[in-house]
Symmetry: C2
Subunit: 234 residues, 2 copies
């Protein structure tokens, strides 16, 4: 089949991009956006969070769905040893959702996204990929400091200065300004497999529906008028 | 014993600082500088380099020497899986020293220091430490991009923006402007145990004396007029 003028070029001719894929819906939609213009190399980093196994199986299913052959899975479980977050510390409880809560929730994993991005940059530099995609969401999110635009601008500057002069890597955050419902709509438009994603912070079998992450996801689907295909408790 | 006016306060009263300790001489001297004003928490990160085991045993010996109780050892061996460096890729040869060589040597581990610093920041945020010490050397070093002052300035900005607003962490590089001989002299002045350090990129038994790292170390001791206490081949 010869691609028509409007078709994307075949995978071999597209430039490479590293995409951080957690197994959640924001990174899935980000991956779908990346895959329109780039040959994606998928990176999954486990950091000892409660739902590690489930997220890894979602990552693999999503990578299979998109036929991604360049994949890397790595373990940053020292972030769990460091602790300080209800996501990684079993002694802390994951809070009930309160989307009007101000401040930074207990699920914040200290400086997590810098740890993830640093691995992505190392890999991109060796692969020769010039773009890195991450599904950070600033608005309508949980208020994590490492999900803000200013953080990515500063990190991009550190990347420019901390890699070889001929390296030209840029971190892109295509969904950072979207609401959760906007992300759901964008995903539906791109035909993403939402059924392969996981968002719950607490459980890895039936989503609790009650943690911040479930509450944000459910509200996003409700506002988008689209059915969430994963099962919820209760 | 009551401390006199000029004595450092007892350890319990000093503020905490995270110190990245590789097992080499630059980070040893950095640790000794940090220990004058802070209670040091030592962080050692293995990244799958050739001399991992030796460097870890040096780290432990140095931590014992300084009586450091807060220690963390973690594994970033995905950096070896990513490759791109003669330090981690057994298929690449570690070059013979050529201190007049221009450009970035094959021992550069892509964006390594950002990976190390990200872990240090996560730990510092949880510990409540406000300073992080790293023994990067800009001049008289091997020309690694992530050892330059500008990189640390940019990374500090990413730390400021990517951590909790009440977090106040600064990365310090006290030996960044020193020559190797200056570092040797500073270490001698502070009475550091150079015999507990390792610098060779190739061997973990008898230092080769021929890689860039050995050559820089030997020249530093020679110019400082101080005997290097570790054994060399040949």
């Amino acid at each position: 089949m010869t691609p028509g003028a409007g078709s994307p070029p075949p995978p071999g001719n597209r430039p490479l991009a590293v995409v951080l894929v957690s197994g959640g819906m924001d990174s899935l939609v980000t991956a779908a956006i990346a895959a329109r213009s780039y040959e994606p190399a998928f990176l999954h980093l486990n950091y000892g969070q409660r739902t590690t196994g489930k997220e890894l199986s979602c990552f693999r299913a999503i990578a299979d769905h998109y036929g991604v052959t360049r994949r890397m899975e790595a373990d940053l479980s020292h972030l769990a040893a460091i602790g300080g977050s209800s996501l990684t510390d079993r002694a802390m409880e994951v809070e009930q959702a309160d989307l009007s809560r101000r401040g930074i929730p207990t699920s914040y994993v200290p400086f997590r996204n810098a740890n993830l991005l640093s691995v992505a940059v190392s890999w991109a530099e060796v692969l020769g990929a010039k773009k890195i995609f991450i599904g950070a969401v600033e608005e309508d999110s949980s208020g994590y400091p490492d999900c803000r635009r200013e953080f990515y601008a500063a990190f991009n500057e550190a990347v420019r200065l901390g890699t070889r002069p001929e390296t030209d890597i840029e971190i892109l955050t295509p969904v950072i300004g979207m609401t959760k419902s906007g992300i759901v709509k964008k995903g539906a438009e791109l035909g993403v497999p939402f059924e392969l994603t996981w968002s719950c912070y607490r459980s890895d079998e039936i989503a609790c529906g009650e943690c911040d992450s479930c509450a944000l996801r459910l509200r996003g689907f409700r506002e988008a008028g689209i059915r969430d295909p994963i099962p919820y408790a209760g």
